[in-house]
Amino acid sequence: MAAILDVLFIGRFFPKVMAQYDESSQKLTIKLVYYGPALSGKTTNLMRLHDILTPDMKGELMIMETADDRTLFFDLLPLGFRAPSGLLIKFKVYTVPGQVIHDSTRKAVLSRSDGVVFVADSQRTQSVNNGESFENLAANAARVGLDFQQLPLVVQFNKRDLPAILSEQEIMARWEKAPWPVLFSSALTGEGIIETFKALLAAVYLTCDRLYRLQSDHGLDCDSFIAQTLGGSLSSAKG
């Protein structure tokens, strides 16, 4: 009942506008969100991105955590570069707090997002938490008026370095029918972090290009969109 009301009411206040395009300052702001159960490694993902990425503009990583390293409100990493047209492409990459009690905050952070990485914990013991969190993602997406079927989404199975994890075959068997790319990572070492981010950027580019004609109006194709976001040394596509 409440969920239906949410969709009816909030859906009206949050029109499904992809990205924030500010014509006067020639700026397109794209909001990306790392979602997932508590302690799955969302904040660690963002820290690695901050370490590795070298776009033209990279803000400081803002981490809001409690004493025991749990994210309280969100973490934020701003990134940016200019398209050949002069358009500033700005990314705001957020993590949500994974703990169940922070659902209101998770909902607020998720709202109006343009792409989501779902960070799952590969450990066998975490399967239930992963499932519940994914359901929570779908439910909150509906509550904030996001079309979950259309939302660019990438699934990342993190902590591959740990023992007692689900095998890749097991995971792929389970996610076989899902329409989303599934990637494997170890955020602690940085392995798979960039691949995950690239997969998300590719999906996000499609919707942004459709809405804001990045290719035709701003001279920005998918490869250079990704390459410029990652920055110099990381991408062979650049230059």
Binding site: M1, D6, F9, L72
Partner: protein
């Protein structure tokens, strides 16, 4: 767009003014003045002055970065070594970033609070709506229950009337038996008497033919005409008594059958008891002896037919309780301004668990088809209408005593049947 009112959307880009919120600007600028040893000013990204003196021409300028893009510039009146200038800018950026963290946290806190509150309000509205629905439902339920109760009451009333009617029917059957008895012997008496008449006609013929008195005497004795005459007298007497009895039964029945009676009259309970016993005798004849100890002798204002029904009902129950060789006592008396009627039997008695329920409608211990369970309820209601009370004591295997108290001076209260 969603209107986030005062707090603002935590995602929005904060401008310099907002980033300096809550910071003592004059202290900040004088610290910068001392550190850089010149006059320092800060302008925002549009060039508008934010803190310090930005009026006259500036020499050096360094950007202040917000999240990503510059939100303003730090500028000095005189030249400052570039590393010192950027160190000062860095210092200020640290301050701004600290403040940004606080602002973001408070903004998202406000936003979630507001969302939660709105959510609560929506739930409240939904709750009120469902509450209203339930209220309406419960109201219509009440109406439906009332209708049901009415239907049940109607059915109850009908059964109640039927029970009264049925008791009259049972009585009628008894009465037929009562009347058949005298009718039978009256008929046989009259037939016998008629056959005697033949002998007297023959004797009369002898007289007409001028028979001698000696002959006549002879015939009179031969035919035992004296005996016939005596017997004839007895037969007539017995028949008259039988007719009287039938007449009495008819009178009693007339009074007793007025079950729809509404008007009251003066009647005494002793007479009513006698009349009922008269018409109902066949009911106990086989298995019980009836002992009447009637000494009330006080007429009361009452519906006599209704009281007759009470007596008939109690008597019927007493008879039903007895298997064989019973004694039924009906006593009447006046005690404490009330006429008391007691019907006592030495029958099987009523179990303790059943006793509290015997006046309840439809409660019956008789087999299905034997009674509606309204007998004692009807009695109870009639007694209540007369302003009286009815009590029952019973002991298993010893018998039952029902006591009815009817006030002598008490106008009858709203009769139930009409």
């Amino acid at each position: 767009m969603y209107d986030f009112q005062s707090g603002g959307d935590f995602e929005r880009d904060l401008n310099l003014d907002e980033l300096l919120k809550g910071i003592d600007k004059s202290r900040l600028i004088s610290a910068l003045n001392v550190l850089l040893d010149t006059t320092v000013g800060v302008v925002d990204d549009t060039g508008a002055s934010v803190i310090g003196d930005n009026s006259s021409k500036t020499v050096d300028r360094v950007p202040l970065h917000g999240e990503l893009e510059p939100v303003g510039f730090l500028q000095t009146r005189t030249a400052v070594p570039s590393e010192r200038l950027s160190a000062a800018a860095d210092l200020m950026q640290l301050i701004l970033r600290c403040n940004a963290r606080y602002l973001l946290a408070s903004d998202i806190h406000l936003q979630t609070q507001r969302d939660d509150f709105e959510e609560l309000q929506r739930r409240n509205v939904a709750l009120q709506a469902s509450e209203a629905r339930y209220k309406k439902l419960s109201e219509s339920l009440e109406i439906r229950v009332k209708e049901q109760v009415k239907t049940i009451e109607k059915a109850h009333l009908k059964l109640y009337r039927n029970e009264k009617q049925a008791s009259v029917g049972r009585l009628a059957a008894g009465v037929a038996h009562e009347i058949n008895n005298p009718l039978g012997f009256i008929r046989s008496n009259v037939a016998t008497a008629a056959s005697y008449l033949e002998s007297f006609y023959e004797f009369n013929a002898l007289i007409d033919n001028g028979a001698s008195s000696k002959d006549l005497r002879k015939v009179w004795e031969e035919r035992e005409l004296s005996l016939l005459l005596d017997d004839f007298k007895d037969l007539m007497k017995e028949s008259l008594e039988g007719l009287d009895r039938i007449a009495k039964i008819v009178i009693a029945l007339k009074g007793f059958s007025r079950i729809d009676q509404t008007e009251t009259e003066r009647a005494d309970i002793d007479t009513i008891v006698r009349q009922i016993c008269q018409v109902a005798e066949s009911q106990w004849q086989q298995k019980a002896k009836l002992v009447l100890e009637l000494s009330s002798e006080t007429p009361i204002q009452c519906q006599s037919a209704q009281l007759g029904q009470v007596v008939y009902g109690l008597l019927g129950n007493a008879v039903d309780a007895i298997e064989t060789n019973g004694i039924i006592r009906i006593r009447t008396a006046v005690r404490n301004g009330a006429v008391v009627l007691e019907v006592q039997d030495n029958g099987r008695g009523i179990p303790e668990t059943v006793l509290p329920h015997v006046f309840e409608p439809f409660f019956t211990t008789k087999e299905v088809g034997q009674g509606t369970g309204l007998g004692l309820t009807v009695c109870h209601d009639i007694v209540k209408e007369h302003g009286g009370s009815i009590d029952i004591v019973s002991q298993i295997g010893k018998g039952t005593r029902v006591t009815v108290n009817l006030p002598v001076h008490n106008a009858i209260q709203n009769p139930k049947e009409s």
